[in-house]
Amino acid sequence: MFYREAGQFRTSYAADQQLFAIRQDRLAVLALLAVAFVGVPLAANDYWFTAILIPFLVFSLAALGLNILTGYAGQLSLGSAAFMAVGAVAAYNLELRVPGLPLLASFILAGVCAALVGAAFGLPSLRIKGFYLAVATLAAQFFIPWLLVKVGWFSNYSSSGVITAQPMEILGYVFDTPAEKYLLVLTVVALLALAAKNMVRSAVGRAWMAVRDMDVAAEVIGIRIVRTKLTAFAVSSFYCGVAGALYAYAYVGTVQPEDLNLDLSFRILFMVIIGGVGSILGSFLGAAFITLLPIFLEVLLTFLEHRFNLNLAPGTTSMVQLLAFGALIVFFLIVEPLGLARLWQIAKEKLRLWPFPH
C-alpha cells in the first residue's frame, strides 16, 4: 500500500541509474539521515553517544571495509583489527610529527597507510584462496600489533606502548564533547558508506564481484585479477584504517595495540556474516547486532534482576547474557543464513504486496 513503485516512471538514464530508484527508499534514507544528524543529537545523552552510537558507527565502518573484501571481492581476511591498528597509529604519528597537518587529512593519510599495508598483505591472495588465504592474513594480525609494540618510535617511546590520541581540532574548532565527536564520526562514516555504495556499482565493484563468483571466468572476459584483488585489499584496508583512526580519536582516546587483537578481527568478520555478506546495509546491521545487543541484553537483565529482586550471584547476569547472545546468533543464522540484510529485503518484498498478498 505505502511501499510500491506503481506510477513512478523513469524517463532518463540518470533516473534509472540513481542509488535509490524507488521514491519511498529515497525518502526513507533522507529521513534516516535527518534523524541521525539532527534528531539524535537533540535527544541522546552522553552515555548513548560515547558507549553506543560512536562504537556502533566505528565498527560499522570496519565491517564495511571487511565486507568490501570478503562480501564483494570474495577474499577471506582475518586481519581487519590489525589494519585498524595501522590506521590508529598512523594517524597518531602524523598528528604528532607533521605540524599543521589538518586532522581529516591525517585520517585520510592513515587510511592510505593502512591501504598500503593491506595491499602488501594481500599479495598472497594472488596465489592462494579461501581458508588458506585467511591463514595468510592471520599473519598480519599477529605481526602488525607485535611490530607496533616492538618498535618504540610508533608510540613515541611510551613506556607502556600505549598511544594517547591528541585533541581533535578542525579549522580551530575542537571536537571534545561526545555529541560533537558523534557528528564528526557520523559525517565520515556517511560519506565513506556513500562512496562504498557507489564503488560497488562501478566497474571496480563489478570486477570484484566477477572475481568473487568465479575468478577463472573473470580472467577469461578480460578482468585483470592482480589489480582487482589488490584494489579490493587496499580499499578494504583503507576503510579499516579510517575506522581505526576514529576508534583512537573519537571512541576510546587511547590505543593499546593488543586491544586490536584477533578477537576483534573475528568480531568484525561475524558482523559481516550476521549482517549480510556482500551488502552495505548488512555491515551496519551486523555491527549493530554484535556491538549493541550484548549491551541491551545486559541492561535488560540487570533491570529484570532489580525489578524482581532476584538476588543473583554477581556475574550471573553476564553469564546469562553470553548464553542469550550466543543463542540469538545461532537462531538468526538458522532462520536466515544470508544475514540480517536479507531479512530486510524479504520484509521489503512483503511490504510491496501488503495488504493484498497473492
Partner: protein
Amino acid sequence: MRAWKLTPAAVIAAVLGAAAALPAAAQAPGTQFIGITGYRVGPYGANGAAFFSGFVDYLSLVNERDGGINGVKLSWEECETEYNNTKGVECYERLKTKAATGPTAIHPMSTGLTYSLIDKVAVDKIPLITFGYGRTDSVDGRVFPWLFPLVSNYWDCATGIVRFIAEREGGEAKLKGRKVVMLYHDSAYGKEPHPVLEAEAAKHGFELKLIPVPHPGNEQQSQWLQIRQFRPDWVILWGWGVMNATALSTAQKVGFPRDRMIGNWWSGSEVDTEAAGEAAASGYYAASLNLAGRDFQVVREVQKHVIDKGKSQTPAKLVGSVLWNRGLAAAMMTVEAVRKAQEKYGKKPLRGEQVRWGIENLEVDAKRLDRLGFGSMVPPIKVSCTDHSGSGLVRFQQWDGKKWKAVSDWMSGDRGMVQKMVQESAAKYAAEKGIKPACLAG
C-alpha cells in the same frame, strides 16, 4: 512459513523495544553510590571475583555494622567488563549516569582500562583509584590530579624486588654480574616497570633480560627454553591470570627452582599458586601490597556481620585470600576518603570532586588501621598532592604449599630513584599534553 519468517523481526523488535523502554535503575536517594567496573567472567574472572567480592563485602560491612558512613548509607552497582577495555569504557559511561552524585571513585582493576579512562575522568571530575597498578607516574598529583595509585606502584614494586634479591644474595654489592630474567605479560601492564628495572640493572651492574609472554599466557615452552639457555639467578614474574600458574608449572617442568622466582603482587595470590599445584608453587616468593589470612579483626567482623547473616555471596574459600583481602583494603580506603571528605563538605552523598579532595588528604595511620581492624594487613598511608600513592612500601610473602606467609617486614625499594623517574616521566607527559602542573584546590 510466513509466521516463521517474521519471528526474527519480532525478536529484534522485542529486545530493542524492551531495552529502549528501560529506565536507568534508580539508586536509592540519599545514599553514597559507588560504581564498580568489575569482572567475574573471562580469562581473569577468578582474580576479579576474589577482589570484587572483598570490595563489596567491606561495603556491606559498613552498611550493616555502622549504618553507612556517618549515617550516609552506601549503595553500589557492579558492571561486568570481562577485563575488556572497550566494555570497561561502556560500563564507566553507564555507571556515571546512575546517581546524581556520580560513581564516587572508580577502581578499574586493569592497567589498560586505567589508560582508557585517564582523559575521561578529568573531564567528568571522577577520581580513579588504582590500588597497586595503573600509570606509575600518576603518583605526581600535580600532573594527574584525578589519579590515585594508592599504597604502592609498579616501580616501587620492581625496585623492592631488586632490594629483596640483594638481601637474599647478601648485599647490593653482590648483585654485580648476576643474571635476572623478567618474564612479563605482553601488555601495558607488563611493560610499565621496564624503565626502572633497566635503570636498576645499570646501577647495580646485573644483567637483565626481558622476555614477553603473549596474552593469555597459557603456553610458555619457548620462553622457558630461552630462560634455560640464559641460566638466570633469579626470575621476576610479572604475570596475570592463567599466565602465573603456567609459569610456575613450566618452571617445575624445566627444573628451575621456585625459590628463585619472585612475583609481583598480581602474580602472588592463591588463585595462581593453587592452580599450579602444591609441588609446582612451593617456595615461590611474591611482593605484596597486603597480607593474606583470616587472622585480622576486620575479616572476623565481615564474617560475623555480613557472611553469617547471609548478606554475601562470597564462596567461603575466598575469605582471607590475598585478593579478597586486597578488595577489603581498597574498599576501606575509598570509605575512609569519603569520611575525610565529609569532614569538609558535610554528611551527605558527595560528588566526585569532593571525594577527590578526601583522597588527596587521606591519612590512615597505624592507630587508625588498628581501629578499623586491619592491623598490619596494609601499610599506613598518607596521601598528598605531590605523592598520590601515600606509602610506597611492599612486603614479601612466600607460598609454603598451603598458604602465603610473610617473610619480610614492610620495606621500600629505591624510593629516591622512583621519585626522580616519576617526576621526569610526569613532566614529559605534561609537556606532551600541554598541562601546567598544579595542585587542585578542594
